[in-house]
Symmetry: D2
Subunit: 241 residues, 4 copies
């Protein structure tokens, strides 16, 4: 059983009529909905307005993979919670960050770059797979279109990814490393560009396949329960990390 927590700010959906029409219960419920069809997944959701943003020590300790969508409230997120997420990723929790979450505090803390990019509303994206042997690409066509998407363009200021699984082509002239993976400590990270809130991107079949694959891929094979802090080497040698 893989324990998944889908986190969403849940502000835009309440604020804007056109977005609420697309995601009446919020982006988190849409994503949780298609993930929980897999009976191997135990899915819960959390949002910005919950105490500690719904991401207490207890919740994160009980989460194998955290899925993340944020935009309007990135700067208001509690530093304590952001650091807690970072620590749990180090100890093995998977972290799947969507769209504007590239600029979220926990992802910035984990990657260490500015995470800047360029953007333009109202575009069309074609996603190309550049790592067909990667588990996140399983069953995904070599290319497919997202009819409406916000353009994200290079230069995208990220560390060199472990793998660039998907590259995005935008009709207006941009390219983007749209699906990239990183490892930080024991934790696996997948950043995935699609999912502007004004378009029904998370209802698209290929997108759902990718996120479903990503949860399997990001699930830790083991979790540490405490941090190491540069211990002295002892004899006999220890065997755990």
């Amino acid at each position: 059983m893989t324990k998944v927590t889908v986190w969403n700010e849940y502000y835009h959906e309440k604020e804007y009529e056109n977005i609420r029409k697309i995601y009446p219960e919020g982006i988190h419920r849409c994503i949780a909905g298609f993930l929980e069809k897999d009976k191997e997944f135990s899915v819960r959701t959390a949002t910005f307005d919950m105490p500690e943003h719904g991401l207490t020590e207890e919740v994160l300790s009980d989460t194998d993979v955290l899925v993340w969508w944020s935009h309007a409230k990135q700067e208001e997120l509690s530093d304590e919670v952001a650091n807690r997420i970072k620590d749990h990723v180090h100890m093995g929790m998977g972290f799947i960050v969507l769209h504007s979450g590239h600029y979220s505090k926990p992802l910035k803390l984990l990657l260490g770059t500015s995470m800047t990019l360029r953007w333009r509303h109202d575009d069309r994206e074609r996603l190309w797979c550049t790592a067909p042997a990667h588990p996140i690409a399983a069953g995904v066509p070599m290319q497919f279109e997202i009819p409406q998407e916000e353009a994200y363009g290079e230069y995208f200021d990220i560390p060199k990814p472990d793998d660039v699984v998907f590259m995005g082509w935008f009709a207006s002239g941009e390219v983007f490393r749209s699906g990239v993976t990183f490892t930080r400590g024991l934790g696996k990270i997948f950043y995935f560009q699609p999912g502007h809130e004004e378009y029904p991107v998370y209802y698209q079949k290929e997108i759902q396949t990718i996120l479903h694959n990503a949860v399997y891929w990001a699930k830790p094979q083991f979790r540490k329960r405490e941090h190491l802090d540069c211990p002295e080497i002892k004899i006999p040698l220890e065997s755990s990390y």
Copy 2:
């Protein structure tokens, strides 16, 4: 069901009494023996002296993961078979290459470097895991010893690996990238240094865990049945590789 073919030259074991004592039925039977305990694996073996070295088009088409041990006969291996292996790796077959197989024709064809290294008999190795989140490291201690092993030392002339999962420390003063992964086309490759024929390395529990993990990791998520040869782009766009 994962179809595994364990290939071994099977010369040293017939030639030398001391080696035959360790592997009376050959290294391939030892490896096949512990792999086939997993009922998800369907394991067969093949050796150098079989027609086409036992690696006909039919056998390779029916193999998900090829495990490889070679040494004395590397130069005598058929070029046709070496190229056939390369093609099947491109189309998705996993390829796990052991010890002196670093200098085998198919691995050289796939990696494109000289594959040179330095060696010394009669040493002791300690393997350190440097990628604990990698599937091949699942359940493997951070470090463990191989009491007797041939030293392989840097500079090891390989392309930059996707991951260095294990690094070897040798008592006589060498280090070595002992467990390294590569992707070529759709195929996943794991090169693993341990396994000198004069020592009972493949009976060691940690070694067996690593190779068992490696078969799972190297299993293709899909196989192509033919090569692409730079096709012109047609409209509508194709979706397969």
Copy 3:
């Protein structure tokens, strides 16, 4: 002083009036022309029809960086010369491969993948830099256009590059890893997609800057004069590769 050999098949230019108009003395002379403006470079050229394709052991031993353009005669290239190039790259010679040279024998030998891609004539490319700190990108704008170029599209079957310095966007809907680097042995390799023979691509200022940078980057810091062949470790330890 950096010794550069610019190699070109030199067939299309003699065969087709429209191509000859663009490159009256051949693509090699155009490239040699702008490189030799740098007085640090000593530039010569060689073509397919010369004995041993102009790439004798003496020429390659005296070459720091080999620049390569090929298309029509890829399959007819001598295997001996292709292997000689591979060996010299291993010993440190830089290798800059242009456009359709992705499918040349020496690059295939060095990279070990099928090198397949998709293509379409008569397109427009915008090159984006995705590694601004890379020496090959020095002085190159974040993006610039090539008004006429053949589209090359993913999936491009290459090993994971050391760096993806440039990504190409094509107006008809393709993306491509258009500028990628690899290391093989002591040799540095840069594959660069632009340069279809029917368009005046190598006259473009940004393209010339990139190739000029690439020669500096690919120049070896040292050259070996012989191959190592898995030597036994001796005491005292050697210090050379």
Copy 4:
């Protein structure tokens, strides 16, 4: 002219007689001393006890490459200065971090992992080069010994490096990725393990060659003077990062 700032805590040398004997003017003056023999380098030093640790906005704006040694005061370093260093690395400043500086605030901010490792005093290290074509390895032997060094051992919790230039073997049984590179934004980072304060490591010729090479390698090809903050794409497209 390359502007180098060598930063050192400068506490151990004042506190302990045995360390002061080795570095009577501090580690920073030893390093500055051999670097400034290169007339292409303009070298200054700074230490913990200076106002703003000697790393004001003016100093960093005027620094191409920052060399860093820290240990006892890591937690007491000003957060503002640590973040300032991070920002300047993003904008292109090179950053060379030595020995116990792996646990410094600015490096942790830039890399995002826990940076934990294991250690043991009073050991002997042999450094092996695993990337002979890397500029930092120019003129460095394939292997050489550091007669006395503190052992640092895996698992070293760092992101996957761009290059592992050196691997360390320790007599007591450890291996370590002792020389590793990263790129963050426009800035190049080199972490180098040797340099325990109780041993005269920075007087060793090979160590000096490596650090001298590293300064050349880390020097930015251009510097940004301000941060981008996810700008909207405008027409005509901009060409700068």
